[in-house]
Symmetry: C2
Subunit: 337 residues, 2 copies
């Protein structure tokens, strides 16, 4: 049997907590026997919920936490004050080495701040990026950074490019991943001050496959595997992906209901369409890892259902097995020397 | 009869020039008898093309231009060197007052630079924004700025908010248009340095209906009528709109072709779907105006067909009739005093 991968799961975070969170975590444990789940939260509630499921006792542990950080709370203050919250206690399990990874559908801000403050950055990492996978025509791309730290410097973006390359190569098995920087034109002299300064640095990076600028239009088409950008822009891209997708699907559905003819067509088309559109649903891809920390911290959608939690936990297994952090450290220090 | 509105149309710009450009311009003239078209470009070619159509002679004039600015040319240099290009000559017609407006599907860069250098800014305007209409669930929103001038200052964004309000109110007839600033969270303390500095300025603007921050996810849902942002972010939004839309529609089409059942469904659904998706096609909305100049400059898609040219020319009529520039001047100077 391979080494156990221990994942601290915030049982109280997210719109569907604790039911869907616990369900998804147990599904991951049942699917992979090297997973050990530490469910962090209100012990009594969790234990009550656990009664509904079949699972191996030795794969599941409950860690009591009496407080909960709400989404609207200012994250820095919440992390500092609520020492007995599920988020803080789960992160501390990673910090102490008791767990390898952390998964939460709760407050993004608290996870981002707590990840840095409690778990801590790997040596040499200037700023840990939040990097979700987004669907493209050809599969997926890593959008790096969508985090809370806006107004990045060029050196940050260069690190994002390297970290993202490691992730896509080792976790997603993309060989020699194509790295591009988000820009407003394809030419090298285009862009804002940040992009113009970063472009030559990326071009001179020996250990990444830099393919140049990418216009936002070409991201869904899959022109790059690692899409590098500053967090404000990354956040706009991620949320617009969801927004345009959602609105368009609504329009398609409404369009199909305009006549009897189209209603019959819609009935016939529905199963096939549902399957196809699933590949364009961001929630199918598990959570977004906050990379460059001394352990893996994964933030899933606030609206996560069991499937996203399960996928996120299983992602943690690949992350550990592939020794991603060793590879990131190697790639970052390589350059610094 | 109302006063004539004279529109200089760059007959040589765009992927479908001159055929679709001339066709669209004539359609506008035939639809509205107060339109006069000045077709600027290679006289012989234009005159040959004109033979195909019925139109009133007095509504159409041809202005010869022997040069053409290509899309890939550095715009500043092109504007300076190619004095006899269709873009430069058409812009000069606006500058001299012979024409009220300019429409081109050619080089965006040359139109943006030429608009500022040749036509010139209105007094008090710091930076003329490019402001396309984008489709939303509820209709359209004005995305301001998507231009070439990145790294804006807070005072620019405040002007964009005012100019955009005038446009939506007077041209699009939206009463008391809701103005929002693109941000990465709804709270006032969220954002990058630019947004944080701009937010209180917008909040204290007496003559706009500022509703706060808008997350990218809520733009397609139609939460604001005037979506204010810096040009780099605006460009990403505009192009991602096109990109996600295009990819998703491809996925929907492919999904419908996966089985016999779904193929029959697709046949039935097609006409209704086509009609609905049209409302989400950016090219249906005419070109993007470059606002705050001493005349109206409109840039249409490079791939414009006749319908977009026609709509853009007709947009120029509303712009003049509604005295938009007088209203913009009034709103800008109001604050300065």
């Amino acid at each position: 049997m391979s080494e156990m991968v221990k994942v601290a799961v915030d049982a109280m975070g997210g719109d569907n907590a604790p039911a869907e969170i616990i369900k998804g975590a147990l599904e991951a444990a049942n699917e992979n026997s090297s997973v050990k789940i530490c469910l962090v939260g209100a012990e009594a509630i969790i234990k009550e919920e656990l009664k509904k499921y079949n699972y191996k006792q030795e794969q599941v542990e409950v860690i009591n936490a009496t407080e909960k950080i709400e989404t609207a709370e200012p994250p820095v203050m919440a992390i500092r004050k609520k020492k007995d919250s599920s988020i803080v206690k789960a992160l501390q399990l990673v910090k102490s080495g008791e767990c390898d990874a952390y998964v939460s559908a709760g407050s993004t801000g608290a996870t981002l701040v707590g990840g840095q403050v409690i778990v801590g950055r790997l040596k040499g990492i200037e700023r840990p990026p939040l990097a979700p996978l987004i669907p493209t025509e050809k599969g997926t791309a890593l959008l790096i950074d969508c985090g809370a730290n806006v107004d990045a410097r060029p050196s940050h973006l260069v690190q994002f490019a390297k970290i993202g390359s490691v992730y896509m190569e080792s976790v997603m098995k993309v060989k020699n991943p194509r790295v591009a920087i988000v820009n407003i034109g394809a030419e090298e002299d285009k862009g804002n001050a940040l992009v113009k300064e970063t472009f030559p640095l990326l071009k001179n990076c020996p250990d990444i496959n830099f393919v140049g600028s990418i216009e936002a239009r070409d991201i869904p088409a899959g022109y790059a595997d690692v899409v590098v950008c500053e967090a404000f822009v990354g956040n706009v891209i991620l949320k617009l992906y969801e927004g345009v997708g959602g609105t368009l699907i609504k329009k398609v559905k409404a369009g199909m209901m305009t006549s009897l003819r189209s209603k019959i067509g819609a009935f016939l088309v529905k199963p096939a369409l549902k399957e196809t559109l699933k590949t364009f649903d961001l929630e199918q891809y598990g959570g977004a890892p906050l990379l460059g920390l001394k352990g893996l911290v994964v933030k899933t959608h606030g609206s996560s259902k069991a499937v996203e939690i399960k996928n996120s936990v299983l992602q943690c297994v690949t992350f550990k097995e592939q020794k991603i952090n060793d590879k990131i450290k190697e790639k970052i220090t390589l350059e610094d020397e």
